[in-house]
C-alpha cells in the first residue's frame, strides 16, 4: 500500500493507540498499583502542564534545548559533510582517518560530560559540544560510505559532458549522495535530541533535561512526566520535518528504486 492511498481510518490508527495508552495509564493510576508520588495520574500531569505553560518556564526550557540542538547539529553537519566528502574521494585520508572516526563514533557522547564541564563550564556550550560529538562522527561515516557507493558511471558521464570542480560537486556528487545523507541526518537528529536531555541534566541550568532533573529533585513526578512528553513530541516533530526532505522530487529515486 503506498502512502497516497492510505484510508482515513488507517491514518487515525496512531490516535487510537494514543487513546488506549491514556486509558491504560488512567486505569493503572486509579487502581493504585503504584503510589501517586511514584506514578502521577494523567490528571495531575495535565495540571502540571498548565502550571508550567502559564509560568512560561516550559517554553523557555524548550527554546533553550532547541537552540542547543540546532547549534550542535548544524555545526556537525557543516563540518561533517565536507569531511566525509573529502575522505570519500581520497583513499589515503580514508585509510588514515576512518579507524579514528569509528573509535570516536563508538564512544558514548555522555562519556565526554566531565570534560565538557571542565572545558566549557555550565550552560549552552557544553551541551552544544556534546551534541556535536554525538552527531559529527556518524555524519562523516555516512557521507564517506555514500560517496564510496556512487556508481563510477556517473563520474564517467560527468566527464563526457565536461563537468569539473565545483560543478561536479554540486551537480553530481552531492545529488548522488543526497538520499543516503538525508537518512543519516534523520538518525543523527534523533541522537542529538537524546543527548541534549542528558547534557542538560548534568551541565545545564535550564532546558528540558534540566527541567526533568529539577522535577526529580523536587519530587514532582507530574512535572517530570510533562518534560518527558514534550521531549517525545518534539522528537517526533523533528523527525517529521526531516522526513519532508525525503519527499523532495530530486531525491525520491533513492527511496523508490
Amino acid at each position: 500500500m503506498t502512502e497516497k492511498h492510505v484510508p482515513v481510518a488507517v491514518r487515525l490508527l496512531p490516535l487510537f493507540v494514543l487513546l488506549i495508552g491514556l486509558a491504560i495509564w488512567f486505569c493503572l493510576s486509579r487502581l493504585g498499583v503504584f503510589p501517586e508520588s511514584a506514578f502521577p495520574s494523567p490528571v495531575a500531569v495535565a495540571r502540571g502542564f498548565g502550571i508550567e505553560l502559564r509560568s512560561g518556564r516550559l517554553l523557555d526550557d524548550l527554546i533553550a534545548s532547541l537552540f542547543r540542538v540546532s547549534c550542535g547539529f548544524l555545526l556537525a553537519v557543516i563540518l561533517g559533510l565536507p569531511t566525509g566528502l573529502w575522505m570519500g574521494h581520497h583513499f589515503r585520508s580514508r585509510v588514515a582517518l576512518l579507524p579514528a572516526i569509528n573509535f570516536f563514533r563508538s564512544l558514548s557522547p555522555l562519556a565526554w560530560i566531565p570534560f565538557a564541564i571542565l572545558w566549557f563550564g555550565i550552560g549552552d556550550l557544553p551541551a552544544i559540544f556534546l551534541i556535536f560529538m554525538a552527531c559529527f562522527f556518524p555524519i562523516v561515516v555516512a557521507t564517506v560510505s555514500a560517496v564510496a557507493a556512487i556508481p563510477s558511471i556517473y563520474f564517467r558521464v560527468a566527464r563526457d559532458y565536461s563537468f569539473s570542480g565545483a560543478e561536479l560537486l554540486m551537480k553530481v556528487t552531492l545529488p548522488a549522495i543526497a538520499p543516503q545523507v538525508i537518512t543519516s541526518l534523520r538518525v543523527t537528529a534523533g541522537l542529538a535530541w537524546l543527548v541534549v536531555v542528558a547534557a542538560e541534566m548534568i551541565a545545564g541550568r535550564d532546558g528540558l533535561g534540566f527541567a526533568i532533573w529539577d522535577a526529580r529533585n523536587g519530587l514532582r513526578m507530574d512535572l517530570l512526566v510533562v518534560g518527558m512528553i514534550v521531549i517525545g513530541v518534539i522528537g517526533v516533530i523533528i523527525d517529521r520535518i526531516l522526513v519532508r526532505l525525503m519527499k523532495i522530487s530530486s531525491v525520491r529515486w533513492g527511496y523508490e528504486r
Binding site: P151, I153, Y154, R156, V157, R159, D160, Y161, S162, V172, P175, A176, A178, S249, S250, V251, R252, W253, G254, E256, R257
Partner: protein
Amino acid sequence: MNDKALATENVSVEFDSIHVFRDLTLEISRGEFVAVVGPSGCGKTTLLNLLSGFLKPTAGHVISSGRVRMVYQTDSLFPWQTVAQNIALGLRNIDDDKERANQLEKMLRLIKLDEFASHYPHQLSGGMRQRVELARALAGDSDVLLLDEPFSSLDYLARLHMRRELARMLKELPRTVVLVTHDIEEAAQLADRIIVMSDRPARICRELRPQLERPREPTHPAVVEAVHCVLMELGLEGSQAQSFLETPVA
C-alpha cells in the same frame, strides 16, 4: 577534406602483461555505422574506451575528429534529474537559452517522450530510459556516437523496437556510429559494416557489409545471411552459400 571520423593506427593495449590489442588498425568513415562483434572479453569495450579518449593506448595512435558521445551498457542517466534535464546535458555547449530550449523540445519529440519531460528515470520503463540515453548522446552537435551494448538489458521485443528507433533517429540526425554488441542480429540489422573480432589479442578476422537500407527486418534474407556469416566466423555454425553479401577481406 578528411573522410575519416575515427581511426586507430597500429594500436596496442596492454593491461598487466595481457595484450588486448596488438597493432590494431581500423578506419571508420564519416557517417558510417560500424558494429563490432566478437567473443566475450576480446576487448570490444576497450576499443570504445580508446575511441572515446577515456583510455590511452600503450602504443600507436587513435584519431578522432569532432565531439564523441558514448551510451553505456548500464543505466547512466542521472537519477536526480528529470528526462528533460538529462537530455539537456547534451546541450550544455549551446549558449543561447532559446536555442537550447528549442533543441530540447526537438529531442523530446524525436524520442516521443514529450509527455515525460518532467519524469525521473526511475519512473520510466527500460526502453524509455534507453531512448533518453540516446537522446542525450545525440543532442547538440555531437559527431560520433559510441554505443556499448546499449540494449542488452532489454527484453527481445523491446530490443527489436529500439533498433528500429535508433535507425529512425539516425536518419534524422546522422552520426558516425560504433556499436559494440553481443547481439549479432542487432549488428546485422543496423550496421553498414560488421567487424568480427578474434580472441585476445584481438584482431579483425572478418568484415561484412550488408547492402541494405535501414531499417532492416530481422528476418530479411540479407540480415539472416549476415548473422550466419558472423556465427560461422566465430565457429558457432557450419558453412553455407552466401548470396546477399559483399565481403571484402579485411
